[in-house]
Amino acid sequence: MPTYLEFERPIEELETQLQHMLQQKERGENIPDEEIEKIKKEIIKKRKEIYENLTPWERVLLSRHPDRPQALYYLNTMCDDWLELHGDRMGHDDPAIVGGFGLLGKKTVMFIGQQKGTNTKERQYRNFGMANPEGYRKALRLMKLAEKYGKPVVTLVDTPGAFPGMEAEERGQAEAIARNLFEMARLRVPILVIIIGEGASGGALGIGVGDRILMMENTWFSVISPESCSSILWRDWDHKKEAAEALKLTPQYLYNYKIIDDIIKEPVGGAHVDPEKAAKILRREILKHLKELEEIPIDKLLAKRLEKYRRIGVYKEGDKVISSF
């Protein structure tokens, strides 16, 4: 059974109607095909209507949809071969971050992504995609390997944040993230960052620095989750919708602000409606962007990468406003 979010209720009603009709038809009752076609069309229309007018908060909900495809789904579906690698070589392996070689046609890519888990058991095992320092260190180890082999790095970002736990602090969560930001700024292979779900704060950025940042349509990327923002700035948990608006965290805003470089279309109704199609689109986009990035000589690419981050910001200098968008 698919899961419907609050704002998807009208679709659920139509889908139920459709199922009902199909069952009746199966039982031999006289249901005209036009009726069925009509309701199918209506479902498509309704989906479009709802999904074209999503509020930022609804998009946040969609990014967390329980049926939404995650990193491992995409890797298993879009790669012609995929070999997962484990461990940070310093005593740990973090299941919240997955990574390894993937083959897209004749193109080898080092994939690194957060995996939140698709059922209760996996979610616990993956710590809901909240990485510990060893996750970021494993990611760095894999990036260095990609650099050695001259293979591009593609990261699939999907995390509610880096894990705020005791052991994470003991093992240097902040240092692990900072180290990755530093190393990703100078890694001598192209890096493509794709937000496929939630892109929360430093936990997302820890595998999120690159030559290009893409966001899938129903995702968000922000300095803090709307819930935490509400609790800190409004001092209660009830203002998450306002916080989601204020944070301007949707792909369209971030594209306009030139923080991200492109938005990846999802099947109508979201990636979870047609995961296979979503994976196909993702593969196509990855290949397109990697081709463009690999045409740039590496020294020039690195200079451009540094310049991209050097510029970001909006401030006043004397009477002059300086803005990166």
Binding site: P164, A178, C229, I259, V314, Y315, E317
Partner: protein, 284 residues
Amino acid sequence: MSWFKKIKERAKQQLLPPPQKKDTPNGVWTRCPACKEMLSIIDLEQNWHVCPNCNYHFRVGSEVYFNLLFDNGKYEELFDDLESIDFLGFVDRKPYSLRIEEAKRKTGLKEAIRVATGNIGRNKMVVAAMDFDFIGGSMGSVVGEKFARAAEYALEHKIPLIAIPKSGGARMMESAFSLMQMAKTSAILTKLSEAGIPYWVILTDPTTGGVTASFAMLGDVHIAEPGALIGFAGPRVIEQTIRKKLPPGFQRSEFLLDHGLVDFIVPRHKLKDTIIRLYKFYKY
């Protein structure tokens, strides 16, 4: 009521305008939050705001560190005409623009970071020091830009860069732009690495969130003041997550030393001496 308090009240009414930067509580006396001893503000200031009784390090701002580090307290401030603006129209309980104005009025500062250059032990260096009183020492576009310019200044003049972070994290009111300052400040440091320019960090109370997870943890050498809170997540967030009380001393400098995250702990009055020694090791 203790006679101390009466004197304090009277003193408040009659005396002394508040100190220019709100580094210490107003008045002539203050109570050490650690040992509860009453201390004269003048004595405290002369001791670089460290309790003479128990060595508790009071939180102080950039001004105190500049005076402490630069020879004869002489320095030139750089990039001080950079100011934040509310370019997203961010409104929570109050508009961001109002928060900026209030912070400026309250602190007499323009932003949460100041950059200055001058001699430390007769060698020119550049120092980027943060002020917690300015919107919780949060990092937005201006903090990121001033830090980047400080790094470029160090690069251009081939002099060491010293960072003194003091921050609650990224500035939420600049949303993704503040998040990107983490990448911006970290990326610029790769240039210092390649040029062999020293970058030293003096970790002070408190340093958490996005600032810790970027330039604060990327020093060649990490010096920490005693008892400073230094971490990624704040203690309250961790306690909510693990549903346990944290043990005393968790995320303090001494804890970080035990876990290999800082090189040494240095009391405030020895900071300058430590920087001069590091410089010699770099130079000779």
